[in-house]
Symmetry: C2
Subunit: 160 residues, 2 copies
């Protein structure tokens, strides 16, 4: 088994930052609300199964690993499938508004958390390869990098 | 939140036994092969998400709790949904042949394990209510009762 290699479609290379100041006119970018909850969380979140509703579409995602490298498998769920499983995530959910901002050929995703996490704003950038990941220069409105910090994982945010 | 009450459709009341001797002419009863694997196992198996293929049909099941009382939520999966998630269960799978034997208005499910668990045979009986559960008298070919014993949970059998 090799580590740190990229299985096409299954692994993500990404960095995560706090956001010091939201860009102006944020609403001009594509945005939508997300509600997500966790069916099961194993090994302190290093392996988990997540349900997500994004607008009218729903999905179930399996993730293992954390930080810059991880494996992810996702399926779309019908409204009926989602409704049958969603009650099992009670007490381990979060809501956020996501904005998608194009930036030098990359996509910055800004998550503005709502509900009990209101006030927290996080930016995530996904990269096509490790080289692009390393050479990325954060824009001035980004704050501290929190890539791989457990306390900013969505699993922890949803359950604490 | 109440405990030990039954939410219709969501909770199972069942007992589990080892099988001393398989009944004769077992193949006259309905039977089918089952392959199952675990996407995520939380709290030593007390909460988990399971994938199962039974003949040509596939499902994803959420379970929380153990023993005579537990909550269960299940959805059917398309072949495509199943195929996308199944690789994530590598190393935490088991195979068995299940026989369904009607007995005094109840259904006895016999699981004959295969592969590395070959030789293990377990019977499970599900009850409509607690009264039926308590008054059940095991047939002579049943062995020791293992209801609630962690070492005979499918989660443990699949991962050890």
């Amino acid at each position: 088994m090799r580590k740190n290699t990229r299985a096409p479609g299954n692994q993500e290379i990404e960095r995560k930052f706090l956001v010091k100041q939201l860009p102006e006119k944020l609403n001009r970018w594509r945005h939508y609300s997300i509600a997500q909850g966790y069916l099961a969380i194993e090994s302190f979140g290093r392996r988990h199964v997540r349900l997500r509703r994004r607008g009218k579409s729903a999905s179930l995602t399996f993730k293992v690993g954390r930080g810059a490298h991880r494996e992810e498998r996702e399926i779309k769920l019908s409204a009926k499938q989602f409704a049958a499983l969603w009650p099992a995530t009670a007490g381990r959910r979060l809501r956020k508004l996501r904005y998608e901002i194009p930036c030098n050929g990359l996509l910055i995703e800004i998550d503005v958390y709502r509900g009990k996490l209101s006030g927290l704003v996080v930016a995530e950038v996904e990269f096509p390869d490790l080289a692009a990941c390393r050479k990325f220069e954060p824009p001035s409105w980004f704050g501290r990098e929190v890539t791989g910090e457990k306390s900013y994982s969505n699993v922890r945010l949803a359950t604490e």
